[in-house]
């Protein structure tokens, strides 16, 4: 059996997205900046895609910039807000400790340029509150950036409430909605979002393409200089096939949000229930305020990479926040921010489902994880010490 349960990393492209792209590779291949009819046909498609995406987010087409993906959109949003703030002498930014590295590392770069960054701690349930944000905002705050939903533990943040707080304080509000777009209803007007990043490959679209929404009036700072594409704010010939694929995938995902969510929440909750029946395990993040397909559990006494490798042998593709998989000595900053001790964070497992996963697959995953955890615990000196009472269990 082959089960792909790593949809938070990336998704399989949908048939709809692939078919939407194909004509723009071989038939309508003109450069939208060209005056001839081949170019203008591409320009029309580009404009149509922009309109459709804008409509789904509740903004206007002029407020949509196409980027190479979520990371670029995050960087451009943050650097834009920083430049705008700097002009007014405002050099303080509020964010959270569990943002994606595209946000955290952009903020670190700004710190080196004299900006001050407040990273809010998350609560035990993996959520920051609007009050936390409100209390952190200062007269010199130029930006609040809080992710819509966390990529590892799937917790959904109170974006509408945070947006309201920022609007009241007159501070720009950006949200990294890479994990949320196409999976949760988003309305940038209602939620007072000034800037938003999304990435197509998280909702069955192509890789290498994303969107930065920036509310009218925000003067975007270029990251790439060159031609006049994207109203001069992002140079480079537009990746029309990818943009068309993204627009089609986004339309499809948004149309199915309710149906997919209903199906996925059921699968997710059964998976969580099954995994938590393994002793000395814990769910990371709120059980309800989480993405429909996200499951993230820690198992005491084992390490995540070996868990992933053995699950891969059983045909299950998953991910972990262990140090070995992060390429550093520290386990996931998200799990540490959640307050998990290092030794527990190393034993984390993230399973992210999509609407193609089935109830049978979920049962198979539960059994596979149960087998692998028990095998690894059987050869773990940490587990032996815990079981023999030499050390105390952290997870009861």
């Amino acid at each position: 059996m082959k089960i792909y349960a790593d949809n938070a990393a990336t998704t399989k492209m949908s048939r709809t997205a692939i078919e939407a792209m194909l004509p723009y590779m071989s038939e309508i291949y003109g450069n939208p900046s060209s005056l001839h009819s081949e170019g203008q046909a591409a320009a029309e498609a580009l404009s149509d895609a922009r309109e459709r995406i804008a409509k789904r987010l509740g903004c206007t087409a002029r407020e949509i910039i196409f980027t190479s993906g979520g990371s670029e959109a995050d960087n451009q949003a943050i650097i834009t807000a920083a430049k705008m703030g700097e002009k007014k002498g405002k050099k303080h930014i509020v964010s959270t400790a569990f943002e994606h590295h595209a946000v955290l590392h952009a903020l670190e770069a700004l710190e080196k340029q004299g900006f001050e960054v407040t990273l809010l701690d998350i609560h035990d349930n993996g959520i920051v509150t609007a009050d936390d944000v409100k209390n952190a905002i200062r007269p010199d705050t130029c930006l609040v950036t809080v992710m819509y939903a966390n990529n590892e533990i799937g917790t959904v943040q109170p974006i509408g409430e945070i947006g309201a707080v920022c609007r009241e304080a007159g501070v720009l509000f950006h949200t990294d909605a890479v994990q949320a777009a196409g999976h949760l209803e988003i309305d940038v007007i209602k939620e007072n979002i000034d800037m938003l990043s999304l990435s197509a490959h998280k909702f069955h679209g192509p890789k290498g393409i994303g969107v930065l929404y920036a509310k009218k009036g925000i003067i975007l700072q270029n990251l790439i200089y060159g031609g006049a594409q994207e109203r001069g704010k992002r140079a480079g010939t537009e990746n029309i096939p990818a943009i068309m694929g993204m627009a089609a995938a986004f339309d499809e995902a948004c149309d199915k949000i309710e149906a997919n969510s209903a199906k996925l929440c059921k699968l997710r909750d059964r998976l969580i229930e099954g995994l938590l029946s393994i002793p000395h395990s814990i769910l990371n993040g709120d059980a309800e305020k989480r993405l429909p397909g996200n499951v993230n559990v820690c198992f005491e006494g084992i390490e995540g990479e070996s868990l992933l490798l053995l699950l891969d042998d059983k045909g299950v593709a998953a991910s972990s926040g262990s140090a070995c998989t992060s390429g550093s000595l520290d386990p996931s900053h998200v799990l540490l921010a959640l307050g998990r001790p290092h030794e527990v964070a190393h034993g984390s497992l993230r399973l992210s489902l999509c609407e193609e996963n089935t109830a049978e697959e979920v049962e198979y995953i539960i059994e596979a994880v149960r087998d692998v955890v028990s095998l690894l615990r059987g050869m773990s000196p940490v587990w032996r010490d815990l079981e023999s009472g030499k050390k105390e269990f952290i997870l009861k």
Binding site: G301, I302, E303, G304, E305, S306, L309, L310, D312, D313, S322, A323, C324, G327, L329, P331, P341, H342, E343, H346, G378, M379, S380, P381, V382, W383, R384
Partner: protein
């Protein structure tokens, strides 16, 4: 997965000498759970020869494979040979490890040495301290 050689995957999937030796003559434990790697090696020694060896490991695929390989390399060998086991030899026997995983082979070497040291200490055998360096000072683990 192409991350590891076939040899590493073989030793990871079918680890040799997993387990515990009750009343072992020497036990060595290195690494710490905070870093995500702990290796424990148990030795049964007769007439200066390692007649049996078992290991337990908490860690990634290459940590499990490194300990498995190290136990295979010292089983049935005189202590002097076990003390000569280097992380390089373990890495080579595994057909290489990714650069960021070399520390797993270092841990395997240290676990073997630590078990021998424990045997020496328990039996009042005099040895040269320079043979063993304390894992706590190992630069591979910063916590």
């Amino acid at each position: 997965m192409a991350l590891y050689s076939e040899k590493v995957m073989d030793h990871f999937r079918n680890p040799r000498n997993v387990g515990v030796i009750e009343n072992a003559d020497g036990v060595g434990e290195v690494g710490n759970a905070k870093c995500g790697d702990i290796m424990k090696i148990y030795l049964k020694i007769e007439n200066d020869v390692i007649v049996d060896v078992k290991f337990e490991t908490f860690g990634c695929g290459s940590a499990i494979a490194s300990s498995s390989m190290a136990t295979e390399m010292i089983k049935g060998k005189p202590i002097s040979e076990a003390l000569g086991l280097t992380n390089k030899a373990v890495t080579e026997a595994l057909d290489g490890l990714p650069a960021q995983k070399i520390h797993c082979s270092v841990l395997a070497e240290e676990a073997v040495k630590s078990a021998v040291k424990d045997y020496y200490d328990k039996n009042g055998i005099i040895y040269d301290c320079k043979l063993f360096h304390d894992c706590a000072t190992c630069e591979h683990c910063h916590h």
